[in-house]
């Protein structure tokens, strides 16, 4: 039994056999073979090694020819590794001694060495790359380029991976994936967002959980505490099953709230909306008591496939959501891609600083055809509905005006072509840059609504990349600086009568509900699983209480004061909300 500690990004408990993906999307298929097959597995390994050696000799020859003798030296090193007697004996002992597959032996033996070398001085730590290279080559020759995807699973599993790309999460068989455990550090946006949207536990930043677990091992994922247990003993399984049961009961008790209004005890009505990535989730939002969609992240239309979505693809997706919502509000955010690893890795010229680079609305302005296609689809789909358009990452007034001009152009085109559309769709912006927050009073006169994207707002305000584990701890919604900006936006909204919502994770975090209410927020939009708890808190407080709390919090100087105080206040209202 091994216990690994990481960062919990989505709460809950899952207990299931593991599917292990490495970063190349290879799934290490099976661990054991019948004893009488062990020799055959060893023969497979030897054959793959021979093929690999030939490949390397070939590469070596070509490198000598095209670049030079010295550059080819690295292949001598690779060859040396493949011909290493001690290594080969280890492979053979592992296959024959454990009756395991060639793939399993290759992975465990090489990763065992890699782990040792990672702890060593510079030069040797760098050689780890070569070890992984050999591993990939051997696996490729063993499995013959077979990529196992997560899209067809036959039983409930938890997925362990070095990292999960958006296309992997987009095509994941959601009926069977019960939890996620990722090596990569920090709150990588896609894994966290998808896990929360699906309501499944997820832990990231585990570093080497993929080395510690094999396909088929029972794994417990504790997303609440950020723990992963590989191959747990009986007692641990029982404890977790009990804990999971309690959580399920708590969640069910909250579900009873679905049809009750989000009203404070002194009668203030609050609007609760849901964040979605895929059309089918609209249904989940309503199920959990949401009154509409506060944020429809449309980038998954782009990430789910290799080709750009057509206007019809957009239109169909939007209609599906609108129809499921039956007249309830739907806010569609235009493309917010560009800074993520996935896009960067496919870019012809990757940017040095994607977070501050050509992403989101800036990307859209440079890809006007794409942008107009999306806007066209939105305007056509919104006929007879309450859809709004929201632009991400707007950082100055000119960008907003430019975006609105694009919308006007599209309306003109649609009118000329006599195509049915809504010309009076409300237009709002995501407030996620400090500049937009600081100028919110100016923006308020030119938008129909604001939605505060706290995730990015916090990153930009505190100059932190939450995906960078070295600094991820600096990221916090409780930062007094961030709170001042949030309050400023809410106040601008109140002053100029522009509706304001918070759609970042801060809205889903129960400790901030009272504070946000006290600041004047009347609309929350979050991942569906979080809705019942937030509603419960709203239904247990008076507005006066919230205003007092907010006043107190804004006098604090440090983040930990804020967090401790808010935790205490929230616990008073909803003790079960904050699991220990």
């Amino acid at each position: 039994m091994k216990i690994k500690k990481g960062i919990g990004v989505s709460p809950g408990v899952a207990i299931a056999p593991a599917v292990v993906m490495d970063t190349e999307e290879f799934d290490i298929p099976q661990r054991h073979v019948p004893v009488d097959r062990a020799q055959a597995e060893l023969a497979r390994l030897r054959k793959a090694a021979d093929v690999s050696k030939k490949e390397i000799l070939d590469l070596r020859a070509r490198t000598v020819e095209r670049i030079g003798q010295e550059a080819a030296g690295i292949f001598d090193f690779h060859l040396g590794l493949l011909e290493d007697n001690v290594l080969n004996k280890k492979f053979s002992d592992t296959v024959l001694g454990g009756s395991v597959t060639a793939e399993y032996a290759v992975s465990t033996v090489l990763r065992g060495y890699a782990k040792e070398f990672l702890a060593m001085p510079q030069y040797l730590a760098e050689r780890v790359k070569d070890i992984y290279d050999i591993e990939r080559r051997l696996l490729r020759n063993l499995t013959g380029q077979r990529h196992r995807s997560l899209s067809h699973l036959t039983r409930d599993v938890v997925v362990l991976a070095g990292d999960l790309t958006p296309s992997q999460t987009a095509s994941m068989d959601r009926a069977h994936v019960r939890g996620l455990a990722i090596d990569a550090g920090g709150q990588t946006s896609h894994t966290a967002i998808v896990a929360k949207a699906l309501g499944i536990p997820a832990v990231v930043g585990l570093n080497d959980v993929t080395a510690e677990a094999a396909a088929g091992d029972i794994v417990i994922i504790d997303g609440t505490r950020g723990l992963v247990v590989v191959d747990p003993d009986e007692q641990t399984i029982t404890n977790y099953q009990n804990y999971a049961q309690q959580q399920v009961e708590f969640i069910h008790s909250l579900d009873a709230l679905r049809d009750l209004p989000a009203l404070t005890t002194d009668g203030h009505e609050i609007t609760l909306l849901g964040n979605i990535e895929f059309p089918p989730e609209a249904h989940t939002v309503l199920e959990k008591g949401g009154q509409g969609i506060g944020l429809y992240r449309t980038e998954f239309l782009y990430l789910g496939s290799d080709i750009e979505p057509t206007e019809e693809d957009h239109y169909r997706a939007y209609r599906e959501v609108i129809e499921q919502c039956e007249g309830r509000p739907v806010v569609i955010r235009t493309l917010d891609l560009g800074a993520d690893k996935y896009t960067q890795s496919r870019a012809r010229i990757p940017e040095r600083n994607p977070m501050l680079g050509c992403r989101s609305i800036r990307f859209s302005f440079r890809n006007l055809n794409s942008f107009k296609t999306q806007v066209r689809a939105i305007l056509r789909a919104s006929v007879g509905s309450t859809v709004s358009i929201m632009f991400p990452l707007i950082c100055n007034l000119l960008e907003l005006r430019h975006a609105k001009a694009v919308v006007r152009d599209v309306i003109e085109d649609l009118e000329e072509e006599n195509i049915e559309h809504r010309g009076d769709v409300p237009i709002g912006i995501m407030v996620e840059t400090p500049s937009a927050a600081l100028q919110s009073d100016v923006f308020a006169r030119e938008v129909d609504f604001f939605s505060i994207g706290t995730n990015d707002l916090i990153q930009y305000t505190l100059a932190v990349d939450r995906g960078n584990e070295k600094v991820a701890s600096l990221f916090s919604a409780a930062s007094p600086a961030v709170l001042r900006l949030v309050r400023q936006v809410i106040r601008s909204g109140l002053r100029f009568e522009v509706p304001v919502s918070v759609c970042g994770e801060m809205a889903a975090d129960p400790i901030f509900t009272i504070l946000l209410l006290g600041m004047g927020l009347r609309t929350f939009s979050c991942a569906p699983p979080a809705l019942p708890e937030i509603k419960q808190i709203i239904r247990s407080v008076t507005m006066e209480q919230c205003i007092q709390v907010a006043r107190r919090v804004m006098s604090f100087e440090a983040e930990n004061e804020v967090v401790n105080y808010l935790r205490a206040e929230t616990r008073k209202v909803l003790p079960a909300a904050l699991a220990d």
Partner: protein, 80 residues
């Protein structure tokens, strides 16, 4: 790695140690595990018909600097 390549040219069984770990000098993976850097003291022992030439030439290679591992390792004892 030159050290391992050279060791493989001899028939004797050759071991190299950093004082803590003793490994087969003919195995790259094993030698890497010694984490030998500037200042590490290595002990080379060989057993077989060409043991003496083996340890002598290996010691020389180390004295001259490995090239990859950055030289200067001291060898206190050479046993044949």
């Amino acid at each position: 790695m030159k050290f391992v390549e050279l060791a493989n040219q001899y028939t004797s069984r050759i071991e190299v140690s950093n004082g803590v770990l003793s490994v087969d000098a003919k195995s790259i993976m094993s030698v890497m595990r010694l984490a030998a850097v500037n200042g590490t003291t290595l002990t080379i022992t060989a057993d077989g018909s060409d043991a003496k030439p083996a340890t002598t030439s290996l010691a020389e290679l180390v004295e001259q600097g490995f090239g990859e591992l950055g030289g200067d390792e001291k060898i206190p004892s050479i046993e044949a």
